[in-house]
Symmetry: C2
Subunit: 116 residues, 2 copies
DNA sequence: GCGGATCGTTACGCAAGCGTTTCTTTTGCC
DNA sequence: GGCAAAAGAAACGCTTGCGTAACGATCCGC
């Protein structure tokens, strides 16, 4: 069941969600960081630095830094892969799940409030 | 007609749009910048620095800098208010409208592609 | 076990954003 | 006219993110 949106609905939704998020959250993740976070939580694991870099079309240090930042915020965690110790597997956290749950609620709320 | 979304649809939509936007656009606006841009184009003018700052709950320099950045990208323009020359009115540009139009299309496309 | 390949991190110099504070210009009131 | 108030920009020091390049650790075929 796809989501059918008019142009005005699409941008209106993005507008109110961005606005609400800016007002509510001091953390101010970048678009890249948010994309990474969502990818980690919505796509089945395992996730690696290399895989994320390829998925986003960015370099590996970008992923490392984003994981540093979001790790410090408690939104994600890292652990060495025991089967191939060169790899790092990215792990979800309770706090990260909570963060995205709240964010999802915000989207749903703002969606309901969209006129037209 | 509000937009009714399930949690999985809401986050899924945000995920695919963020991902597509990161891959497509090198400009990488911050969430704040995007919120400002959308506000300028979706809410009836006039827009002032002070008004935007109050709307977003941020300080005035944040708005000034965002306008600097997006002005350099051609997404917005500034002009003195002739009726009160202390004010600056923020003006839309063709390129900015185009940018948001493409962004809206991207949201609609990704919405259609959402499963479930 | 050795050498090349792979993975993630770190180092470097640089650009951009932040909050606070300080102008500069303009207004409006006395 | 004179002066406090208001709007926006600029200055300051700091933090964070960027891309490129170099680096250690680990794997794997031989």
């Amino acid at each position: 069941m796809p989501i059918e949106l008019t142009p005005s609905q699409a941008l209106g939704l993005w507008h109110s969600v961005s606005l609400a998020q800016v007002r509510v959250d001091s953390r101010d993740l970048t678009l890249r960081q948010l994309a990474i976070l969502l990818h980690i939580y919505l796509v089945p694991p395992p996730h690696t630095v290399r895989g994320l870099a390829a998925t986003l079309g960015v370099t590996k240090p970008v992923i490392t830094r984003a994981l540093d930042t979001m790790g410090a915020l408690g939104l994600v965690d890292r652990a060495r892969d025991d089967r191939d110790r060169r790899n790092v597997v990215i792990k979800r956290t309770v706090e990260g799940a909570l963060y995205l749950e709240k964010f999802g609620d915000l989207i749903i709320d703002q969606g309901r409030k969209q006129p037209k």
